[in-house]
C-alpha cells in the first residue's frame, strides 16, 4: 500500500470549484511534481494536504491511517488537525522564516513548543537535544556557519534552504513544496533545487508544485499535470514530457519550454 493515498478531494471557494475531485497516491521515497498553469488548483491541493484549507469532500490516508475525511466533521477538530498535519511539512514560496529568531532557533522553535510535557520537564536537556538536531540539519544544507544569523542577513536562497531544514526538523512523512523557487533568481534557484535533489537521494518523500520544467523532468518519479481543478494527465516524466496525450498539456509544455 502506498504511503499517501488521496481520494476525490473537492474544494470550493464561495461558488468557484477549485478542486473537482483529485486522486493521487505516492510511494515512500517518491518525488511527485505538480505542474500546471496558474489557477489550475495546484497550490490549493497542496494546502488541502497541509490543512491550511479543509477539503469539502474526499479522504487523505497516510501510512494506512485515515487522517482526513471531508464528509466527517470530527476531522475538523482543531487539536486533531494540529496533530495530523505533522504528517506533512510545507515549504512556502515566500520562505516565511520568523524574523526575530536566529536561524537555529527558527528550526527548534516549533519542536520546543510542541514537545511533550515529559520532555519539557528538563528544558535544558530538550534544548540541547534540539540544537544538536538543528546543527545536524544545518550542516546538511551547508548553512551551519550561519546558525546564529538572523533571516534578514541571509540571501533568498539561503532563507529557503533554512525553511526546508525547519520543515525537516519535525520529520514529516511527506515534505511539500509550494513553488519553492518562484521568488528566487536563477542562481539562487540552483542552490535550492540542489538541496531538494539531495533530499530525494536520502529517500525523502516529496510533493513539489513547480514551474521549473527541467527540475520536474529530472528529479520526479511521477508528474501530475493539473488543469481547471482536475488532474488532466498523470505519468512518469518521460510520458509527460516526451509523449503528452492531452492537447492542453501539449500547449502548456509548448508555452513553458519556449520561454
Amino acid at each position: 500500500m502506498a504511503l499517501l493515498e488521496v481520494k476525490d478531494i473537492k474544494k470550493k471557494f464561495d461558488n468557484t470549484e477549485v478542486l473537482k475531485g483529485i486522486d493521487l497516491s505516492l510511494e515512500k521515497g517518491e518525488v511527485l511534481s505538480i505542474i500546471g498553469s496558474s489557477g489550475s488548483g495546484k497550490t490549493t491541493l497542496l494546502r488541502c494536504l497541509n490543512f491550511l484549507e479543509l477539503a469539502d469532500h474526499g479522504t487523505i490516508t497516510v501510512d494506512n491511517k485515515l487522517i482526513y475525511d471531508g464528509d466527517d466533521p470530527s476531522f475538523r477538530d482543531d487539536k486533531l488537525i494540529r496533530k495530523n498535519r505533522l504528517n506533512f511539512g510545507l515549504v512556502f514560496q515566500q520562505f516565511n522564516l520568523f524574523p526575530q529568531y536566529s536561524v537555529r532557533d527558527n528550526l527548534t522553535l516549533a519542536a520546543m513548543l510542541t514537545a511533550s510535557a515529559e520532555e519539557k520537564k528538563d528544558k535544558k536537556k530538550l534544548k540541547d537535544k534540539l540544537n544538536d538536531q538543528a546543527d545536524e540539519l544545518l550542516k546538511r544544507i551547508g548553512l551551519y556557519e550561519k546558525k546564529d544569523n538572523y533571516p534578514c542577513e541571509l540571501s533568498g536562497g539561503q532563507q529557503q534552504r533554512v525553511a526546508i531544514a525547519r520543515a525537516l526538523m519535525l520529520t514529516p512523512d511527506i515534505l511539500c513544496f509550494d513553488e519553492p523557487t518562484s521568488a528566487l533568481d536563477p542562481e539562487l534557484t540552483k542552490e535550492v533545487l540542489k538541496v531538494i535533489k539531495d533530499l530525494k537521494n536520502s529517500n525523502n518523500t516529496m510533493i513539489v508544485v513547480t514551474h521549473e520544467m527541467d527540475f520536474a523532468k529530472n528529479v520526479s518519479d511521477k508528474i501530475i499535470f493539473m488543469s481547471g481543478g482536475r488532474i488532466e494527465e498523470y505519468g512518469t516524466p518521460s510520458e509527460i514530457f516526451d509523449n503528452p496525450k492531452s492537447p492542453v498539456l501539449r500547449s502548456f509544455l509548448n508555452n513553458a519550454l519556449e520561454s
Binding site: G89, L90, F98, P99, T114, Y150, A167, L170
Partner: protein, 226 residues
Amino acid sequence: MNLIDVTLKLMDGFLVTLALFFLTLLLALPLALIFAVLSRSSFRPVKLIMRAFIYIIRGTPLLLQLMIVVYMPGIVFGNPLTKWAVFGGNVDLSYFCGALFAFVINYACYFAEIFRGGIENIPKGQYEACAVLGMSRSQTFFRVILLQVIRNILAPMSNEIVTLVKDTALARTVAVTEMFFAASELLRVNFIIWPLFYTGVFYLGFSALVTAVFNAAEKKLSRYWK
C-alpha cells in the same frame, strides 16, 4: 519671584502632568487592545459599533470631549463632578478623574487604530508557517506574531505618545492643576508672564525622554529587520 521659586511652583503642576500622562498610558493601552480586538470582531454589529465609536472620538476635538465629560454631569444631571471630590485639599481629584477619563477614551481610540494596523500588517505567511509546524493559536501569537506587531507599531506609537505629552496641557481648561495651569496662576496672581514660556522647557525635556526610549527600542528591534 526668582527662577527657583517659579521652577518649584511649576514642578507642583508638572507632577500632576506626569500623573495624567502615566495614568492615561496605563489605562488606555489595555483598553486600546480591547477596542482593537472588538473593531476586528467577526460579529458585524460589534465591529460596526466599535468602529463608529472610534470614528466619533477621533473626529472630534479632545478639548470638546474634556468639556463634555467634566461639565455634562452638572449641566444635564444637576450633579457636578465637584460634589464627588474624594479628598478636599488643593488637588481637585474629581476634575482630575474627569479629565483622565476623557484622555483615556480618546487615546485608547487612537492606540486601537494603531494596534489594528499593526496586527493587520503581519503577513499571512507567518500564521501559516506556524500552523504547518503544529503550533497552537496562542503559541503563534505570543511567540511569533506579538513582537512583529510591536515592531510595526513602534513608530506610530512614539508619535502618538509624544502628542500625549503635549496634550496634557489641555487639562488646564477643565481646572486640572497641571503645569500649564500653574503657569497661568503665576500670571494671574503674580503678574509674571515668562513662566508660561518656561513650561516649554519641561515639555521639550519630557518629549526628548519619550523619544529616546522609543529610539532605543527601535534600535534593539532593528537587528531582526533590515
